[in-house]
């Protein structure tokens, strides 16, 4: 998703955000005054935007109360991002070669396709119990890897298969070897699709890391933070953490888009 471009787009964006915050505030106030409520929900327990903002500011940095050291949101973001980057690098290193192999060679494709098709339909969250019991450490990174690797594989296959056959024929005519064709024709042609897979994978990985941190033991991470705040009944901090998750995810997406625009200029 992109924010609107141009002055009009920016104005609409600002009004949209302000309108949402206003609606949020009004709903909570009405619920607290017993004027309106959504059935089966306890809207009154949701913090108002002002309470959430105060909680966000108050919990941004590490705080120390006597022996108790509570990490700031900034530290939790850092920890979660590092895990996503580690899982992402692993997924990229595994997913791209596999995708190129499966896309370029029918034999490799036929061998690996059944496994990929079955395993990719298992959501990353379904791997969490296995990660808890099997892995001594790195469970969260493993979950990110699972979340990211399949979009990368599938998009790489698509990119490789979409390579213009005329380009491959031309390279062959000019005497290029098999590896030369892959390195100089197929990969550059597939790169926009690979980056698109990375972008989709990052989104899945980011959602997966937050879920994994809620379950897999770790003293720091955004998932852990919002779960802890919920346990302490500090709902404003909890919602602030949720918003930060959304904002960081948004910026990750934008970063990849910018990367694509800047470095892969041949992509549409």
């Amino acid at each position: 998703m992109k924010l609107g471009s141009g002055k009009n787009g920016l104005i609409i964006n600002i009004f949209s955000i302000v309108g949402f915050i206003f609606l949020w505030h009004v709903l909570i106030v009405l619920a607290r005054e017993d004027i309106f409520n959504i059935p089966f929900m306890r809207l009154r327990d949701i913090p108002t935007p002002v309470e959430t903002w105060n909680a966000l500011v108050g919990s941004m940095f590490t705080r120390i109360y006597g022996p108790a050291l509570t990490y700031g949101i900034i530290n939790h973001v850092e920890a979660s991002l590092i895990r996503v980057i580690q899982g992402g690098v692993l997924a990229f290193a595994v997913g791209v070669p596999l995708g190129i192999g499966m896309g370029y060679s029918k034999l490799i494709g036929n061998i690996l396709n059944p496994m990929v098709e079955i395993v990719r339909n298992m959501p990353p969250m379904a791997w969490i119990p296995l990660a808890i019991f099997i892995l001594v450490s790195g469970g969260s990174i493993f979950i990110v890897f699972i979340g990211m690797v399949f979009p990368i594989i599938l998009n790489t296959i698509y990119g490789v298969k979409s390579t213009d056959p005329r380009l491959i024929d031309a390279a062959k005519t000019l005497g290029a070897s098999g590896s030369g064709i892959v390195m100089k024709v197929v990969i550059p042609s597939a790169l926009p699709s690979i980056v698109a897979g990375l972008r989709i994978g990052l989104g899945v990985g980011w959602m997966a890391i937050v879920a994994a941190e809620m379950v897999i033991r770790s003293p720091v991470g955004l998932g852990y933070f919002i779960w802890n705040m919920g346990d302490l009944g500090r709902y404003a901090e909890m919602v602030a953490g949720m918003i930060v998750i959304g904002v960081v995810g948004y910026f990750m997406n934008i970063s990849i888009l910018l990367f694509q625009k800047r470095f892969i200029k041949w992509a549409d």
Binding site: L10, Y65, P67, T70, I74, D231, Y235
Partner: protein, 368 residues
């Protein structure tokens, strides 16, 4: 790059840069390296200590006794070493249920009486030569989910069962919870309490235990309510601290006084924080047993003060002490745990607060 994107990137940078600067300024030295508390269930604590994934845990009985008798670790500190005779679990009622129930006081009188009777039964039967000792060990193994008799015996030894609520100890807990920054400051202001003493006195009443003491020699059936009432009871899973409730229930004493116990939706709860939020606040629990710190914390933090939906009242004690810091055999002091991972039941539990108190005495830092 369009203007809106630039603005957003600037905001993001503004958030990240101070964080990085702060991290650089406050990079902890070895002396400041915190002990990392990580939330997990009791079974998980024992299993992860046995595989060396955690250096220790602070837990309620029977988990410490299981880990110790199985040889996975040793007791570093009993909670009585951290604070002698500290209050632990209590019996509490939901204020909404109280206001909606005509004979709530009569029910609470009888619930306190059963609590007292159960505690007296346990304290007598703890003696290994007592004729009821075998039965007590059987109840402990059933309620604690134990298969190891030695662990059941050790659990019973480690817990001091009581029925009198401890107001002074509760005041101390409130003070420490404030010191440790666990209260939501705005919610504390909304509560209107000025001091820990005022809060503790509003939270706890001894009138039901007083009635129980006056009537302790009466046969239960003579004290039966005119009509049987059904109570939705909440308690913590496999927590030997709450054995008095289980004994009163299994021996039929609640039935004798006309109270039909049913398990509240969600019970048994994983920890006191869940019980306060998903039980009392959600209106699913009428009466329940849980640690006093979750009561203290959530009566403030989770409460909507316009309707006081998390208001509970404490009517009797359940136990004092009974938590243990268990560590791997190569750990010899709390200081040795710096930089290591220690399991605990969750933020705001009694084990959390006790661990912070132990670390405070040693001048150590604890992250959670």
């Amino acid at each position: 790059m369009n203007t809106s994107l630039k603005i957003l990137l600037l905001v993001f940078a503004a958030l990240l840069v101070p964080g990085c600067l702060q991290a650089a300024e406050k990079a902890p030295g070895e002396e400041d390296t915190p002990i990392n508390l990580v939330r997990m269930g009791g079974q998980d604590m024992v299993q992860r200590l046995s595989t060396g994934e955690i250096a220790g845990f602070v837990g309620w009985e029977p988990w410490p006794s299981i880990a110790i008798t199985e040889g996975y670790g040793k007791s570093l500190l009993d909670s009585g070493d951290i604070w002698e005779d500290h209050p632990c679990c209590v019996v509490a009622y939901d204020n909404d249920w109280y206001e909606d129930t005509e004979n709530a006081d009569e029910i609470l009188n009888r619930a306190s009486l059963i609590q007292m009777k159960s505690v007296e039964y346990i304290n007598s039967a703890k003696n290994r030569s007592h004729p009821d000792h075998e039965e007590l060990v059987g109840f402990t193994m059933e309620f604690g989910g134990l298969t190891n008799r030695d662990a059941a015996e050790l659990s019973l030894d480690n817990v001091d069962f009581v029925y009198m609520p401890n107001i002074e100890g509760t005041q101390t807990f409130i003070g420490r919870i404030m010191d440790f920054g666990i209260f939501d400051v705005d919610k504390w202001k909304q509560s209107g309490y000025q001091t820990a003493e005022e809060y503790a006195n509003d939270l706890i009443t001894t009138e039901y235990v007083d009635w129980a003491i006056q009537n302790k020699d009466m046969p239960l059936t003579e004290l039966a309510l005119p009509e049987t009432v059904t109570i939705r009871y909440g308690y913590l899973i496999n927590d030997v601290h709450e054995l008095p409730f289980y004994i009163g229930w299994k021996k039929g004493w609640f039935d004798d006084v006309g109270i039909n116990i049913t398990l509240a939706e969600g019970a048994p709860f994983q920890n006191g924080a869940f019980q306060m939020q998903k039980g009392f606040k959600a209106g699913a629990v009428d009466i329940g047993s849980l640690g006093i710190p979750p009561v203290i914390i959530h009566r403030i933090n989770s409460n909507d003060f316009t309707i006081d939906d998390t208001k509970v009242g404490v009517i009797s004690g359940m136990n004092n002490e009974g938590s243990v810091i268990v560590v791997a055999n190569n750990i010899n002091s709390l200081r040795d745990l710096r930089g290591k991972t220690v399991g605990y039941p969750g933020p705001g539990t009694i084990q959390h607060v006790l661990f912070l108190m132990a670390a405070d005495k040693e001048g150590l830092k604890v992250s959670y």
